[in-house]
Symmetry: none
Subunit: 209 residues, 4 copies
Amino acid sequence: MGIQERKEREKGRRRQQIMIAAKRVFSFKGFNKATMEDIASEAELSPGTLYLYFKNKDELCASLSLRILQYLNIRLKHVSSEKGLEPEQRLDTLKEAMYDVYEFDPLILINMFRLQSSETLNNLSPELIKDITELLNSSLGAMASIFEDGINKGVFIDEKPLVLANVLWSLFSGIVLWGESKRIMDKGKNNLKLTLEIPFEILCRGIRK
Amino acid sequence: MGIQERKEREKGRRRQQIMIAAKRVFSFKGFNKATMEDIASEAELSPGTLYLYFKNKDELCASLSLRILQYLNIRLKHVSSEKGLEPEQRLDTLKEAMYDVYEFDPLILINMFRLQSSETLNNLSPELIKDITELLNSSLGAMASIFEDGINKGVFIDEKPLVLANVLWSLFSGIVLWGESKRIMDKGKNNLKLTLEIPFEILCRGIRK
Amino acid sequence: MGIQERKEREKGRRRQQIMIAAKRVFSFKGFNKATMEDIASEAELSPGTLYLYFKNKDELCASLSLRILQYLNIRLKHVSSEKGLEPEQRLDTLKEAMYDVYEFDPLILINMFRLQSSETLNNLSPELIKDITELLNSSLGAMASIFEDGINKGVFIDEKPLVLANVLWSLFSGIVLWGESKRIMDKGKNNLKLTLEIPFEILCRGIRK
Amino acid sequence: MGIQERKEREKGRRRQQIMIAAKRVFSFKGFNKATMEDIASEAELSPGTLYLYFKNKDELCASLSLRILQYLNIRLKHVSSEKGLEPEQRLDTLKEAMYDVYEFDPLILINMFRLQSSETLNNLSPELIKDITELLNSSLGAMASIFEDGINKGVFIDEKPLVLANVLWSLFSGIVLWGESKRIMDKGKNNLKLTLEIPFEILCRGIRK
DNA sequence: TATGAATGAGCATTCATTCAT
DNA sequence: CATGAATGAATGCTCATTCAT
């Protein structure tokens, strides 16, 4: 392993360290109330150091979303590529994947939404925006391919697969959002899994022939 | 009409005037970028005056959400109270009601979410929190009663009505959120109505026997 | 006097108050080391208030230069408009005017130079830039008219008056700059009057026929 | 040549390398906007290395001025020491020398002034201050000796030579400053040579008998 | 009631400087 | 000697909120 390579890895570690701290602070205080100093001290670094790894606060936040999307994308790719699964089984794996994504970072949607607001978009570097957009589309594509498979096999109703994927995403968004609200209102009781399962179940009834 | 009463009414009018201005400014700039001075000048008032009618910026924002919920509640109550409607027709009316709510204030969910975030909650007066919670529950109850009716009449599958209502709300949240993102990403094309109709349709397939 | 008018006057007073404080602080600390908080506390105001009257630090500094130029312009206009003066007498009055300008604000040139640097220019409002440019040209024009008079009367050598005015300004700049340096190096001894008079004297020998 | 000596020479080379880079960066960005990192990367060194050769940013800047003064001093010494020149020819050589100094580093005066401002002075080491003061005085002395020669030969008017030298320096400062402003205002048109020659010409008329 | 000038705490960001390697 | 990652103090500017009129 060359010196160059080791440095790259070290740099990656620092980014991780900061992102983990940022996630914690954003979760606790929300994006606007969280200060860069909060994040820095959570990461046991100085404020200046944050700017060595992220252009600004918005880009730090966006990078969190990117990481989620990467994770989602990997999970989805895996689901749609696995051979020998019946469409119904695929749906189940899909459900689990989405639930894991939520578990991975429950604030996913708030971040995703912030990300796409015009307030934020101007502060991001074009590459980051491109990465995010591509991943989002790729994820929707992967979902769509699952539905397509079911339609082809005559198990699902003949609806446009990409539309179905969008619906699913909408549903997912709503569930997370709603689940989060509940969690905050009820202070701690996590009924997210329940809500995730039930509407998914109901949606599937609508998809199956 | 006594003087007292007239004053009360006058006060209500001012509140309306401010809320309308706030809605416009929030829509245009987003909650965080909108300043109290923006709102004041949109309302053709001075900044100080805003604080005669709202305790602080958060409470002003929360009052907007409250108004939405009141509107939603009225529409829902109306749907579930109307006699002589078949469950299927009720679902249609419900769908229209929800779409109208969205049209009334497309930022509804962002506001609703802001409202329930820990960032905001500490700044609100207990009465306001209570009002909002009650209205939310009441709205969910009204939706539930629609599903209950269908279940009783044997038209809908036998699922717990309140659960169904929650599902619907989740779905609605997701659609709005997703629709908004799309609107921002696609810059102007309003595909919200489409997205609202399709998942509703699919959900209904899952509800019907 | 209407309320409007009184308010305008009050506003003008505040601007003056801030500019006087700024001048003191800039003189003492230099533009870059002077903080807005320094200026605010010198003016016995809060930092935020400064921004009610000046867009930013650069514009505050530029406004100081503008004031100098206004003063210079008035003095020069007066010199060239007064009737019945011989060219030589005019030169004397001119010399006095320039010395007074320096006395009015010894940092004039440093400010003027800052003003014209590209570092600063971007931060200024177009109107301010226009005002300053016009005043500078007008001042040079007024100086030129004095020389023109002398040339017409056959007392001064036939040199392009505007060139002479530029020369004079260069000389003035140099003297102030040099005088200032000396003041700082010699810590307190003010030999500016001397240096201003002597080169003026020598320059005039070159102008007279 | 001993090892010690070679090291010294090597050290001098590095200092030169850094100063050249600094000059380029200061010219391009101005002193305040230029960062030590800019200079380091222009010099193809790391930021830390700069501090091995210069105590701090101010001292680096001051060293640039020092170098100019050294150059000026050499040129002036040469002018006044050359035998068999008539006073008028000496003036011409002087003019050329000053123009060359300006060409060598057009920012000379801004640097010189920065140097002498109270903003900077506190950060400099006493030795550096002493060097600069001595060089300045020596330069003025060299100029004065040129005038003295002319006065002695009865070609120039009988004015105190040191005063004349100061005048000349003032004029030079003013011209450079003014020329620079013009360059910035007129964006590119370089009229410095013209302005330098004309006032010099006019000043000389005042010096000649 | 209404005003709007004034406040001042708060924050993102920068950058000269240091120091472990 | 050289590095360059890390530092952390410093600062321009914003804006929710107050209060004298």
